[in-house]
């Protein structure tokens, strides 16, 4: 086996008149973990699609183990975990893992299910996923489904494993498992290409890093030789994006919303207060009840017992419509399936909830709609060829900004943002943080749910940490750290911590 597992040289690729890759080169050494980073639209996905044979390149070369890449070779040598799950929800875990490569009985006609399940069981055990391989996929959590997707990739023979944002949907614990697996694979001489937005992951497990910007590979560094700031600077093209640290006096604000021991599907006994001009964070692992709580607050599901107050008035949100009437607006974590109207215009995507307010007599005044939405589009820096463009043609970051504009147009008192920056590049992220700050400064209360501990520490005032359906700890952001947030999220409580400390002292 050669020193260089994957070599991509001077790739050019255009779609129509648009050049997406303009001479991109990447060299992945055998037995290393190689990070590929860049803003959305930098050309990462296109490059990977060329390497995995989904797109054909215009010119340039791909070499795998010094052999010129062709489709069969790519299929044989490369395993790929795409960003979005490509699993069969009605099949079992084992069937998903071994689809098209099912072990057969001796007659070679039927699938040997017991053998297949045993193989899957072993593999899952290696991945630390303790679920029976006969389980139907749809019964799994998203995080475990992601692990199945990874299992499917590594169940096949491969030399190079490409992971596209594998941790976007999984929690810290699964991420750690994944890292262990990736490291084991590396020690076995496999090469891994790791695409991510999360720089701490790069620093944690990657050996080398290649930065893409506008279709050009800016350069490759050894991870130990490059600082985070430098990575961000190179990604952004010289201009370093800085986040403003919150500078607010939230304690003094009056109470906007209060939950008294509310319970519902997937969460129980949750109490908290949200003050005017405050950002309240909700941390916790996936499945800990954060999103479920938020959904019940805005009326997506029901609060079964307990009381919710807005401005000291008890509210009972049976539907989202009720929640909106009470001024509670929710921005979903699932932009595609619950957020955007893909084939409506940007204008309508922003204005549809309040379109009734723009009537001239019986009819909607398109002029007024256009003027109002153009203002919001400018204010929220939504980049679109035209505000009449269909929403599905915008990038994820711009869609999210437009959705934030929609939330504001709905005249909220309380805004719940669920994973507001998931899958969004550095610059759009900074813009979204700025806008959140603006909302707070005009007296709106904000709840931010996030799986990124750093994001919570950066923008919130207080954090509720969820564990298995309820709040295990409320903590001031100034006292929070990655470590203690994780401890509370995993259910360690203070007494244990104290005991631990005492032991140490003794």
């Amino acid at each position: 086996m050669s020193d260089v597992a994957l070599s991509v040289r001077d790739i050019y690729k255009s779609f129509g008149n648009v050049e997406v890759l303009k001479g991109t080169s990447v060299e992945v050494k055998t037995g290393t973990i190689h990070a590929l980073v860049g803003e959305n639209g930098a050309g990462k996905s296109t490059l990977i699609k060329i390497v995995t044979g989904v797109y054909t390149k215009d010119c340039g070369d791909v070499f795998i183990n010094n052999e010129k890449g062709h489709l069969d070779l790519m299929r044989e040598k490369i395993a790929f975990v795409p960003q979005e799950l490509t699993l069969f929800s009605q099949l079992t875990i084992a069937e998903n893992i071994y689809i098209d490569e099912e072990p057969l009985t001796d007659s070679k006609k039927f699938i040997d299910f017991s053998k297949m399940n045993n193989m899957a069981k072993e593999l899952l055990h290696e991945l630390n996923v303790e679920v029976a391989p006969e389980t139907i996929l749809s019964e799994l959590s998203v995080a475990n489904q992601q692990m199945v997707q990874i299992a499917r990739a590594i169940a096949r023979k491969f030399d190079i494993l490409i992971l596209d944002e594998p941790t976007a949907a999984i929690t810290v614990i699964e991420t750690q498992k994944l890292f262990e697996i990736v490291k084991t694979l590396r020690s076995k001489g496999k090469s891994i290409v790791y695409i991510t937005h999360k720089l701490d992951e790069v620093q944690e497990i990657c050996d080398d890093i290649t930065i893409l910007r506008d279709g050009i590979s800016i350069g490759t560094w050894s991870v130990s030789e490059i600082s985070r700031d430098e990575i961000v600077r190179q990604m952004a093209g010289g201009k370093l994006v800085k986040y403003k640290s919150p500078d607010r006096k939230a304690d003094s604000g009056k109470i906007l919303m209060e939950a008294k021991a509310i319970s519902g599907y997937g969460f129980y006994d949750i109490s908290f207060q949200l003050r005017k001009g405050e950002i309240l964070g909700m941390a916790g692992l996936v499945g800990s009840g954060r999103t479920e709580t938020a959904e019940a607050i805005y009326g997506g599901t029901k609060i079964i017992c307990g009381e919710l107050f807005v401005n000291n008035i008890r509210v009972n949100n049976k539907t989202p419509t009720d929640g909106i009437k009470n001024g509670i607006i929710y921005l979903t974590e699932e932009r595609k399936t619950k957020g955007i109207f893909p084939n409506l215009s940007v204008i309508e995507n922003i204005m549809i909830p309040i379109i009734k307010n723009y009537k001239n007599g019986l009819f909607v005044s398109e002029n007024k709609l256009e003027i109002e939405s153009a203002k919001l589009v400018a204010q929220y820096n939504v980049k679109a060829p035209s505000i009449k463009e269909e929403m599905c043609h915008l990038s994820g970051g711009n869609q999210q900004k437009a959705l934030l504009a929609r939330v504001v147009a709905m005249n909220p008192r309380v805004v719940i943002l669920d994973e507001p920056t998931r899958g969004i590049d550095v610059n759009a992220r900074a813009e979204i943080y700025d806008k959140i700050d603006e909302l707070v400064s005009i007296g709106i209360g904000i709840i931010v749910i996030s799986s990124e501990m750093e994001e919570l520490q950066k923008i919130t005032d207080r954090i509720l940490v969820f564990h298995e359906g309820t709040v295990s700890k409320e903590i001031k952001t100034s006292e929070a750290s990655n470590e203690n947030l994780l401890r509370y999220a995993m259910g360690f409580n203070d007494e244990e911590e104290d005991a631990h400390e005492m032991q140490n002292n003794n």
Partner: protein, 333 residues
Amino acid sequence: MIIKNENMGNFFRKIKNFKESGILIVLLGMYALVSILSPNFCSMYNFGVLLKAITYLCFIALAQHIVLLLGDIDLSVGAIAAFSGVICGYAMGQFGIPIVPSIIIGLGIGVLCGLLNGLIVTLLRVNALIATLGTQGIFIGLTLVITKGSAVMGLPKGFFFLGQKVFLDFIPLAFIIMIVALIIITIILRKTPFGRHIFAVGSNKEAARVVGLRVNQVKIKAFMMSGLLSSMAGILMVSRLTSAQPSIGDGWIMPSVAACVLGGTPLTGGEGSTLGVLIGVAILSIIENSIVLLGISPYWQTFVSGLVVVIAVAVDSMRQRSSLKKKILIEQK
């Protein structure tokens, strides 16, 4: 001069961006082709025949269009037409109820049928395809029970005016009624909050719920509107045939879907225009009409309609793929 040129450029760009332009060219091309192949095609008489065909199909296609916009499908449009047409005829023929109240009863039946469809789809959460497959059987069954399978005769002469009056020897009154209905529906869909909500629900039902739209209410109202349009087709057909036949709506489902898809209303909802529907209807009607004029066995008619559906759906899927390409382009920019 320069200003004029710019205007011209604008004009052409508008035509290019005009979503229905492709299908409109197909229509014109087809019209030209059939005119050359069959000299009778351009006759005043045939034009009248064509307009009649367009009239009834367009009512049904509009009914279908509204439901398709929601991302649902309505297999009961023909059955609602037959049911409400027969009830209207029955009211006049058997009970001697005057014309106008009978028509209102017929239209009311159409609205009620739509309401039933809407309730089943929303409150019982049954997939629209299955729900309307079932209600189609219910409506047709009731029609047969009432008529015992034979036509209701003895309708008042005044009633025939609606379906038989022809202006200038070629413009049927029914066609004018259809055009008026088309304009009203267009305005409702394009200009009212309710219409825009239909598009939103069809584009993304979950998102619509989250932003506070009353999804079920929108759906039920849309199904009722659809039922109303179906019943108009049925009642006008009864008037044209001078008897209420239970078989009026047989075979209307396929062309209703075909016309919509041809005209750019995808089965996935949230997209499409009434103008597109009208053009789709015209194309289907010309195909049917030319089969007769060109002396091809009428038995081929069903075959050709089926073929057109398949082609239309295939073209629709190609269009969606090209829209995906556009997305990639814009994103990379």
